[in-house]
């Protein structure tokens, strides 16, 4: 039997890697992928809690997170394409129109 804490630790490590990628990468596409990584790590811990507490709610929440992640990826990439058309760069540190 694998202890519940192993899943939580794995989830925390993957989430932190996602946070690092989100804060450090310049490529906006990889920033989005780090976001997906973070959502996936949360899904792991929700599914683990759902199994160990013998409840279905964690798994239902995973469905909703996957739904919202799909919507977020579609909208985010559409914004990315619309932005790239006006200003051909996807480097995060060069997207500074609001900086004043």
């Amino acid at each position: 039997m694998v202890p519940l804490s192993w899943y939580i630790v794995l989830s925390a490590i993957v989430f932190s890697i996602g946070v690092f990628g989100f804060l450090a990468r310049r490529n906006l596409i990889i920033v989005f992928m780090s976001l997906e990584l973070m959502l996936n790590s949360v899904n792991i811990s929700l599914a683990a809690f759902s199994h160990y507490l013998q409840s279905m709610r964690g798994q239902i929440l995973v469905f909703f997170i996957i739904t919202v992640a799909a919507a977020e990826a579609a909208i985010g990439l559409a914004i990315l394409i619309a932005f790239y058309r006006n200003n051909p760069t996807i480097k995060v540190d060069e997207i500074n129109l609001l900086k004043g």
Partner: protein, 171 residues
């Protein structure tokens, strides 16, 4: 170490290594391909947790839909010259520090968790006797009916929004 723990260790190590590869590769296409492998490993982890339907959903939606979307966008944008430039922003050490602190923080907290709520009615045997998809469906369409409807509206908004945003002109 039992056989389950050995298998879990393999999958956990592979997931951590693959997520590091995803956030550090220079070429976004390589990142997407490593992420595909990562999602397959996460789906196997769901099989560990007796969530077969989640594993199937993970492969179909994440690997089949979202990653293909990412690949399409990478293909639509011409990123040849970006590959030769720096991959990290100037403040990347702060990002690394925040990530490490977050991981250490959660790992320290996990050891302190002593009280868990009482167990629910969906034990492994109960789910096995009815089938996983049927159990999930019963909960989803009764207790979570309103969130389910809201999720469908969110998907509709995403479809319309993506088309409107990516279209060149709305006429």
């Amino acid at each position: 170490m039992t056989i389950q723990q050995a298998f879990f260790s393999y999958f956990a190590g592979a997931i951590v290594a693959l997520s590091l590869l995803v956030v550090t590769r220079k070429n976004p296409v390589h990142s997407v391909l490593w992420m595909l492998l990562l999602f397959v490993h996460i789906a196997s982890l769901y099989l560990f947790l007796n969530a077969e339907f989640l594993a199937a959903i993970q492969i179909i939606i994440y690997a089949g839909a979202i990653l293909v979307l990412f690949l399409f966008v990478i293909m639509l944008l011409n990123l040849r010259k970006e590959e030769t430039e720096k991959r990290f922003q100037g403040q990347w050490p702060f990002g690394l520090a925040i990530g490490v602190v977050l991981a250490v923080f959660v790992v320290l907290i996990v050891g302190k968790i002593g009280v868990l709520p009482e167990l629910g009615q969906y034990s492994v045997e109960a789910v096995k006797s009815e089938g996983h998809i049927m159990t999930v469906g019963k909960v989803l369409y009764t207790e979570f009916l309103l969130p389910f409807e809201i999720a469908s509206v969110i998907l509709l908004v995403a479809i319309v929004g993506a088309v409107v945003l990516a279209k060149r002109s709305l006429e």
